[in-house]
Symmetry: D2
Subunit: 371 residues, 4 copies
Amino acid sequence: MPSSFGTTLRVTVFGQSHSPAIGCVVEGLPAGFSVDQDALARFMARRSPGANRWSTPRREADAVQILSGLNPQGATCGAPLSCVIANTNTRSSDYDELRRVPRPGHADFTAQAKWHGAQDVAGGGHFSGRLTAPLCAAGGIALQVLEARGVLIGAHLAEVAGIADEPFDDGSGSGQQLARQLASLRDGRDFPVLDDDAGARMRAAIDAAREDKDSVGGIVECAATGMPAGVGSPLFDGIESAIARIAFGVPAVKGIEFGAGFSAARMRGSQNNDPYGMDEGGNPLPLKNDAGGNLGGITTGAPVIFRLAFKPTPSIGREQDSVDLEQGTPAKLSVRGRHDPCIAPRAVPVAEAVMALALLDSWLSFPPDSL
Amino acid sequence: MPSSFGTTLRVTVFGQSHSPAIGCVVEGLPAGFSVDQDALARFMARRSPGANRWSTPRREADAVQILSGLNPQGATCGAPLSCVIANTNTRSSDYDELRRVPRPGHADFTAQAKWHGAQDVAGGGHFSGRLTAPLCAAGGIALQVLEARGVLIGAHLAEVAGIADEPFDDGSGSGQQLARQLASLRDGRDFPVLDDDAGARMRAAIDAAREDKDSVGGIVECAATGMPAGVGSPLFDGIESAIARIAFGVPAVKGIEFGAGFSAARMRGSQNNDPYGMDEGGNPLPLKNDAGGNLGGITTGAPVIFRLAFKPTPSIGREQDSVDLEQGTPAKLSVRGRHDPCIAPRAVPVAEAVMALALLDSWLSFPPDSL
Amino acid sequence: MPSSFGTTLRVTVFGQSHSPAIGCVVEGLPAGFSVDQDALARFMARRSPGANRWSTPRREADAVQILSGLNPQGATCGAPLSCVIANTNTRSSDYDELRRVPRPGHADFTAQAKWHGAQDVAGGGHFSGRLTAPLCAAGGIALQVLEARGVLIGAHLAEVAGIADEPFDDGSGSGQQLARQLASLRDGRDFPVLDDDAGARMRAAIDAAREDKDSVGGIVECAATGMPAGVGSPLFDGIESAIARIAFGVPAVKGIEFGAGFSAARMRGSQNNDPYGMDEGGNPLPLKNDAGGNLGGITTGAPVIFRLAFKPTPSIGREQDSVDLEQGTPAKLSVRGRHDPCIAPRAVPVAEAVMALALLDSWLSFPPDSL
Amino acid sequence: MPSSFGTTLRVTVFGQSHSPAIGCVVEGLPAGFSVDQDALARFMARRSPGANRWSTPRREADAVQILSGLNPQGATCGAPLSCVIANTNTRSSDYDELRRVPRPGHADFTAQAKWHGAQDVAGGGHFSGRLTAPLCAAGGIALQVLEARGVLIGAHLAEVAGIADEPFDDGSGSGQQLARQLASLRDGRDFPVLDDDAGARMRAAIDAAREDKDSVGGIVECAATGMPAGVGSPLFDGIESAIARIAFGVPAVKGIEFGAGFSAARMRGSQNNDPYGMDEGGNPLPLKNDAGGNLGGITTGAPVIFRLAFKPTPSIGREQDSVDLEQGTPAKLSVRGRHDPCIAPRAVPVAEAVMALALLDSWLSFPPDSL
């Protein structure tokens, strides 16, 4: 089921970049939860294009219309929640030749290898980054459910074009430092970094890439605080498997790491192991959090933290080498249209959606046994 | 289904470190394939403990007994293939106090948070690295099926304790350089590196860690050549999602990246995009392979390449801080027993098994449309 | 995933009787298939209410709007096909007290036991027979795909109020008798029976029940010709399991049988076994078809035939005994609104949709091995 | 996943009639449950062959060996429970020609159409009724878990060769009559009927069929008391869908009905609807139980009751018409070996296993919302 994921909380995403609409179905939401549709719209706005100069000029309201799953009082009713987002700004003619001359770094070539011409190439079709909008709609609701359970999720640009933001604290101990960081990201700032100076340099790098008809990549770091210990499952439905499977469904993601991640591979065990201690209330907890909040696929009670590597936007104005698949000859290609020279800023809420959907599904599917 | 994965090729892994046996069930293997049980035994031997001084002294034959799924001629018969591996060398008394004083870096604490004492703590129970044996049994068969289809898979220690091996060539162009590398890894060498000098330094670092009652981590790089273009699926069942979901079910994995991976995040689009050209036979192909062999979750025809970050073995002889969960007090703990001071060497065939199972399932579940 | 089914062809149904819309998502359709939307509309019309006097006066166009999954040429493009049907005629006030005083034979009571008030009771919510409309939308497309592969599916009212229609021939031998029966059901008749006289008596029985403010049940028989031998799977994903799982998701179904079904339980083996012979082309085939076209969950090449028992419409105008769940007292209830006094006639295309979805998914998921 | 079923409680069955062993893996059992292995052995004995003259002379202990999933105290530990049953009495030579001349009523022909010779034909391979042994092992454990939660499950031969037993009371009202019936089936009787006289006539009919080298069919009725209201799910994962999907995985099942079943199709709504009333404790309940304990796929609190139609054993000594698939000619066939002339008696515990696995999975996957 390529466009679905989840066990109890099951999300199915549908739509193409230029189809009449895109949307999702979410099965398994707890019944009786009042969805805050205004908060959902604000969350969607963080991902939507056209909000600022770092983003594509394609403007769409990305208004989420909920078609089912709520009772007349606006609360979830036990039936699948479905929603659609209209595609209002479609210019299919921009894309007519993509089936013939595939864009490097896009799925044009692989879609042709798979479907031999039946695929919808306009705007990238089902592969479009636009499909992260319904993922955010589902994730935005999951975020609300988790928040009601005491879980806060936030993400920032850990890196753009090699320029690093202040990293997240690992959330161990009192967790106040990470809490402050997450709070500051919610203060209405229009660029999701902790260090404003780093943010200014990132924006300059993005502008420079645009001027060069080029693009840059970035790394998004995401944290969730407040998860109880004991959520998840050993082996292939663990917290990391659940997050990673969804994350690699987000276009342009090329890597993921949890906690110390790749740098753990360079540590000794005595450094990497998180020792246990007691908190002020006498409860056991890890004294640091290189594990990224889970061991053996099950939450430790410390914040769950991951980083996603986003490659630079493959759509660039520069001339590139490609092939003419019909004529079997080399061909030059310059991607027309306007695209984000860096997708990482708009991917920040997407990372939050991924975290929320994976954690809520894990909680519903694999909770701690009741005592 | 925490201990299962796959769509058409579905693998269910069972067993605990010290249960009577461990094993797996593999549904969906193509019928009529003759399993080479000797080759399977040789593959298992690469993962098995005790083969050399870098490994735990716990010796077990890891003989795979196939209980079902073959016809009298030894070929797959369409029914689920099941196999078991006896646990012959169990010393449960080593582990009696783990439920009370959890080992840092292990799942003892999270298992207690989830199951409140019902879990089998001996040897790590269902979380044990020993569960990679049945994963390798399933993967070893998948490797054979793929090899018959022209797909070769190999892995090496890209890094141990910060010491780097020669990296895999990206396999673009004629692919001869990567083919040579994969062939050299199959020449019977007992330490899976391309650069023998780097290998010697890695072994010295592992020995040094053992002497310090400590451990080191590593990075395993895995490549698959010969996959046709067009295998896989957009979004959440793409090649990367399939591999990542299984990979994070392997104990100690903390990160995964494909192709250029995290370094892609520091590139410009003009660098990272893989341009297309024509091979000698007039077929289009990517001229380089920073994508790691897939775009939009679908194979490009270039080799699929990933890297896995393994944390250092959490079981170390050094005294560590933990807690006594019964008494609610801090406690000191030194892990007794003998353990690999670096698990990465034995994880090399595990990475190959992960690759094989994910690719074969993708091929069976999401093949290119027939023309 | 309560509102989804299927392995490769996966259908997710959403909506409540009075939500803004109902609809479905269909993953896994073969790419490149041109959907005939006019034929789909005609199929939907057979299920839609208000077409005649045997049906509820609630009239809705049941126009299927396809939101995604087609390329600009109107063919399937490999991405999930999604469609919605607007709910235009909703009168929620009819249903306000159902949460308090549950209707016998409906899911009002069980929904309350499950969701404690959060459920959407209007019109039966997610339990409404109206949810068979998106099921028919998905099934109508599957019927077209199967027809292009040489499979014809038809159903009729085998029984209404105890009055029997001419039964389907079992399709063995030349299959001409069953082919004639299926053809006659496609001749535009407005009441799906083979024996017009029996049909007239059925309609009289339905009218009589309506006059009595009561309802009657019926049995729908469905056949599929043209399936090749070797489709399906042993055990729990066999043809019968696949059909039955979907069929019991259709409201009011209380039984299913295949081939000789319950009467097979009263036969001897020498009667019930279908002997094999050779057809004119020298191919083996069963000489009769008490097996209903499958053995061991795998098609024999003979027609697949099942019968579904539909209980009488639970909504009746007669006064019934119920309880007031708020006050904890007995209560009388008469169901207001207009309802079909027999749902079996409108269930005939629903049975065809169930057959089509189960067979197409089985064919895509569990085809005969390629030679 | 043809040999698996279930959502939270997931069962995978493996083995062929003459493979070294058969077995199953059960994921998702609640942790901390002490399995009573003696009770499990007694349950298995009810299904095992050779216990009496109504059964095949093939005698096997059917001893269940649990390989994993228990902690040292014998309680479930959160990891998958796996078990194997050795195949000790195999005579493959009996079956050598089945690939060439398929037995009517068996899956020999369809297996050949699917796998073209790779299938394991010995003893029916993966299609053998012997695969109900691991299903009973899984179900026997589920029965114990349910019994600890207050649910009792029992089944009887409602009909053999057209001879009817006393039917189950529908369990409404006090439920004492059904409770008495279930208790009497547990009193050690060797033939599972309520009416001993009917049982004697059934046995005579079975003996007569054996003497005629023929076989007879039967109907098994199964009831579960004590399920709370609110378990299950609308649409395709409802109670009836869950039971039916598993039931049709049992060899020889050709029909299933719930509550009034097919006879409901001949009732009026005023007859079939179950009115609600209050029990002595002031709780609402259905006053009769034609619904078979569920409405809209969700339990009502009344007993869940179904009936399964078993066709007569297809293996009969009489000469039958078949074909020689190699030579493409008609052929005569007489099934050698000894087989049950009626499988229904041994199917009684299998029906209980089906009920238990479906209900426990529904309860774990789709419980009533917590208040």
